[in-house]
Symmetry: C2
Subunit: 232 residues, 2 copies
DNA sequence: CGGACCATTGATTTAGATCAAGGTTAGTGG
DNA sequence: CCACTAACCTTGATCTAAATCAATGGTCCG
């Protein structure tokens, strides 16, 4: 944890920096933006740098402004379990913020990343003054919760093969295209889907043999038979 | 969906009914309670009755006042996947409320159950007037999210045996005692943990043989060797 | 250019699912 | 209150999907 605080940057710089807050913290008057500026600090991280780790305590809300952050746990056996990837506009650290309990997971920057940081007091004060914003935050929470619960259903009720197929379809939907690039390494995909890199490799090869997908390079995939994948 | 609205009950009755809101909606002045009363309707369900199902749309927040509600999905194969059990004070329906998308899961009363029902408009207005409450709701969200993410880690990184053991330890912690009653049928436990009733049976029998637990009746368990269970 | 990490493919093993058949419990209705 | 039925639980035998172990090739980054 070494957030470099730049409390003396110009308001204009901060506004630019806080542009990622817009999806959540919108409905703001220009004069209100100044309050966010004072409530927010910025922190910068290099690729591979840890933002926080399990056991750390920090009553701060982190909002990704630029870059990519990986959230994961380490199991007893030392296996890394990927929870999710955060893109600009996503936030993290909310549990520590609300309950004060220490983190039980790790956050690491996957590339050059800039964060906005808010303390609990700041958030409290902010929400009291801009109550409508809390609804948007709740909306975001509920979306994440939905995603988590869907993943749980998937993990418990579907076979590994189906999970991998469903994941491909999900990616295609996100990109609104049949060709896309995997957002992470096969190793991480395996961790996310609760399987092993070997199995991911094998299943993708199998899907390709069946003519359902086309792999090119190491991370590019084209869906050829979406229907087949969905009906495994 | 057949909520029986009682909009004409006395304020006193509603206060009693809404006592379960306290964990979330506290910090209220007596005069403010009246607003909740007007914002809330009550609905009553029999054991086994469905509150809503996948596909239904309803922009309402349901808060459990009395009883027990089971939330589950049905997978393609028709397998029931238990998401969670709601006890008094818990709420549901928030995603439909915020995003307007239809439910993708089912909610069924497990016993005689009473709910408080709030529409989106009611919640909006309410939060604008009582912004502090939104922090408590977020807290609740973040707790649920934490639980879901822990379950995901568990499902992906641990073996079935470890999951069952960890679940027993969790139950003991919740009850703050080594003896406790399983909160649901073994069938439902299996569904929750992503396994089958047979495996749950076998593993519990195995744990008992090893002297780690003691089963009595069909739902009572005493932990004898917590350490062994935690270090599978 | 070199080293570390990632990906692929094959051979083997195993945990847990599935299928099957009793025994038990609990909620229902007379 | 008791009897009945349906759902639940348990234990056994078999099967299979995926993990693990292992070895080679590929790719990215310093």
């Amino acid at each position: 944890m070494n957030p470099c605080n730049h409390h003396s940057v110009s308001i204009k710089e901060m506004q630019k920096l806080c542009v990622s807050l817009v999806p959540i913290f919108n409905h703001l008057q220009p004069t209100e933006m100044e309050k966010i500026v004072h409530a927010t600090r910025s922190a910068s991280y290099q690729r591979g740098e840890q933002i926080y780790g399990a056991g750390d305590t920090s009553a701060q809300l982190f909002i990704v402004h630029r870059g990519l952050v990986k959230i994961f746990r380490l199991s007893e056996s030392g296996r890394e379990q990927l929870i999710r990837l955060l893109e600009p506009g996503d936030f993290m650290g909310e549990l520590a913020l609300f309950s004060g309990s220490p983190f039980d997971h790790f956050a690491v920057a996957m590339e050059q990343t800039e964060l906005c940081v808010m303390t609990r007091e700041d958030l409290n004060a902010f929400i009291e003054q801009h109550p409508k914003i809390s609804l948007r935050i709740m909306e975001e929470f509920s979306r994440r919760l939905e995603r988590a619960e869907k993943l749980i259903s998937c993990l418990t009720s579907e076979a590994t093969e189906q999970r991998i197929a469903a994941y491909l379809v999900e990616l295609a939907d996100e990109h609104a295209a049949n060709s896309f690039t995997l957002p992470m390494s096969k190793k991480d995909i395996a961790s996310y889907l609760g399987t092993t890199p070997e199995t991911v490799s094998r299943k993708l090869a199998e899907f390709q043999e069946n003519g359902w997908i086309e792999q090119s390079g190491q991370r590019n995939i084209t869906l050829l038979d979406r229907y087949a994948l969905q009906n495994l």
